[in-house]
């Protein structure tokens, strides 16, 4: 018994570490967001082209403060100090103030894709399992076939196909339209695993004595769904949704690498990494352009994966059994 408790407490460590890391990243992102938007947008290019990282800012404070430098607030001065920490890119933009908003954009893409995957996947999987029989077979056959499609190709085709109609919906190719297209394209291919997981879960739940008992007392399908099935689905769905976020972020980075991801000048971690790789490939030397975006990307994705894996372990009763040999 002691041993079991010991293993369980260990399993919490990744969640705590992952959660803290993610919280820290988010705090920095949100904290620097205002300054990034106000002073580091397209209109305020500094002259520090491809300047390497330095602790002291290479851009004078006057570039950010109109009027008297002496009147700049402490916060502005502090924010200004961070400008050159991650170096500057080929247009002289501060990488520090592109990485943090980039993280927010990436996380937003990941979260939205996870949400789409959760909604579509749960609906599809639960419907198949509840109706069962021929409906189940047909619906799962569709999932099987979609699994057989080359994943990346589908994302690209969806992205191309959706660009015009969605842009029309948003009134031109705004940043919002651009992100929406990406989301639907990535979310549109991420719901398959979710559908399988949910179907398996519902099939298992249907066999449970208390569900059978409820049905025997004359409960309606809606009642069963609302009171017995959905509450039990929250765990697995949340778990797999957590695992969809890093996948979606990586897919966006791949699309950015192809040049059809987030459109410039909007930053995303994938966009920044792809731009960095181009700079490094042509002339090895601008290492900071690739190192810093990737560092933030890795920390964010590892902590998300940590949380997702630990959640899955927690919700999967099998993984709590103590192995005989250990």
């Amino acid at each position: 018994m002691n041993r079991l408790r010991f293993t369980r407490s260990r399993q919490k460590a990744p969640v705590i570490v992952g959660g803290l890391l993610l919280f820290g990243l988010l705090a920095v992102s949100l904290g620097t967001l205002e300054h990034a938007i106000q002073w580091h947008n397209v209109q305020t290019l500094t002259g520090a082209i491809r300047h390497e990282p330095s602790l002291e800012p290479v851009v004078p404070l006057t570039a950010f403060v109109s009027g008297d430098v002496g009147h700049a607030s402490t916060v502005t001065k502090l924010a200004h100090r961070a400008t050159s920490w991650f170096g500057h890119d080929d247009l002289g933009r501060s990488l520090f103030y592109r990485v943090w908003p980039g993280l927010l954009v990436s996380l937003a893409i990941g979260l939205a894709a996870a949400f789409i995957a959760a909604v579509v996947g749960t609906t599809w999987g639960a419907t198949a399992a509840i109706f069962g029989g021929r409906v189940d077979r047909a619906m799962m056959r569709v999932v099987d076939v979609l699994y057989g499609l080359p994943y990346i190709l589908m994302v690209i085709l969806l992205k191309i196909a959706l660009t015009e109609p969605l842009a029309k919906l948003f009134g031109g190719r705004t940043v919002g339209a651009d992100l929406a297209i990406l989301l639907v394209a990535i979310g549109g291919v991420s719901w398959l695993t979710m559908a399988r997981v949910v179907r398996g879960q519902v099939l298992a739940l249907k066999q449970q004595p208390y569900v059978e008992a409820a049905r025997a007392t004359g409960a309606s399908t809606y009642y069963l769904l609302r009171h017995h099935l959905l509450p039990n689905l929250v765990g697995p769905v949340l778990t797999y949704a957590t695992l969809v976020i890093p996948q979606a972020i990586l897919q966006e980075s791949f699309l950015s690498f192809l040049g059809i991801g987030v459109q410039a000048p909007t930053p995303s971690l994938g966009r920044l990494a792809a731009d960095g790789i181009e700079a490094v490939n042509t002339f090895v030397g601008f290492w900071w352009l690739i190192v810093f975006p990737c560092l933030v990307l890795v920390i964010a994705l590892v902590s998300l994966n940590f949380i997702g894996d630990a959640l899955r372990d927690a919700f999967d009763p099998k993984s709590n059994q103590a192995a005989l040999l250990s």
């Binding site: 076939v145 196909a161 690498f257 490094v280 040999l325």
Partner: protein, 306 residues
Amino acid sequence: MTRMLVRRLLAGLLTIACIYAITFTMVVSIPGNPFQQGQHRLSSDVESALLARYHMDNNWLYFWEFLRGAVRLDFGPTFTYADWTCNQIIAASLPISMSIGLAAMLIALMVGVPIGVTSAVRRHSWLDISATTLILTGISLPTFVTGSALLIAVGVKLQLAPVGGWGTLSHLPLPAITLSLPFMAYIVRLTRAGMIDALSADFVRTAIAKGASRQRVIWRHALPVALLPVLSFLGPATAQAVTGSFVVEKVFGIPGMGQHFVNAALNRDPGLLLGAVLVFSTLLVAFNIVVDLLYAALDPRISEAL
């Protein structure tokens, strides 16, 4: 056994047909056509004449015409590469992607399975934790970053391998390792999970009770069963690996097949795109059947049922 095989083949054909139909629908519904790409613009008369020539003015007709060619293994002309047919392009690039893909899967298995087993046997040890963390880091980096890092470290700094291109055996290791990393990460996870399940199964308890050695229990009794999930992952994964990866090919400058999935879509080259997808789905179905057969070989409970 034969009945199972025939049933699988028929189901596979149906799957290929569905994949063809879905891809076709997507291809004809995206805006643009192969004749209005790049700088030169054709007059609308010429464009419609060309579309009619290749049956692209009528989607239904094009669907059947392409299918008719495809069953005779003729994917028709490409509209992007001068002097090439789709068949020639696929015939030239598929072997390259196959050698990289097979090498990558081999690396992924040879490294991934032992790590997964060790990780499961010594659960929550420092070895398990560091392996899991390393794997998570590995799958958290985009392939273009890991590939470029390998290229710069091994190719440029250490000068141990050519920085790109294709032709000799020395061109193989770097792209194969890059391609293997995401698959390896998956295999480690699946092996670890499968092994943890298998180690708590009744037949392992029986094996321990009858006095089998620790090593024998792990490798001979538990591992074959633990590998079943890995095996079902290998089917689709191998099909994906041997048809190439766009990123790996771009980073290392390899004339493989993965680039055609992406470029054909961006260039609106329907013949090449559909041809590549058909090759992929055929390989996918074939590998899945092989996996089913291997399944029966690994798990006595399944082979008895056949």
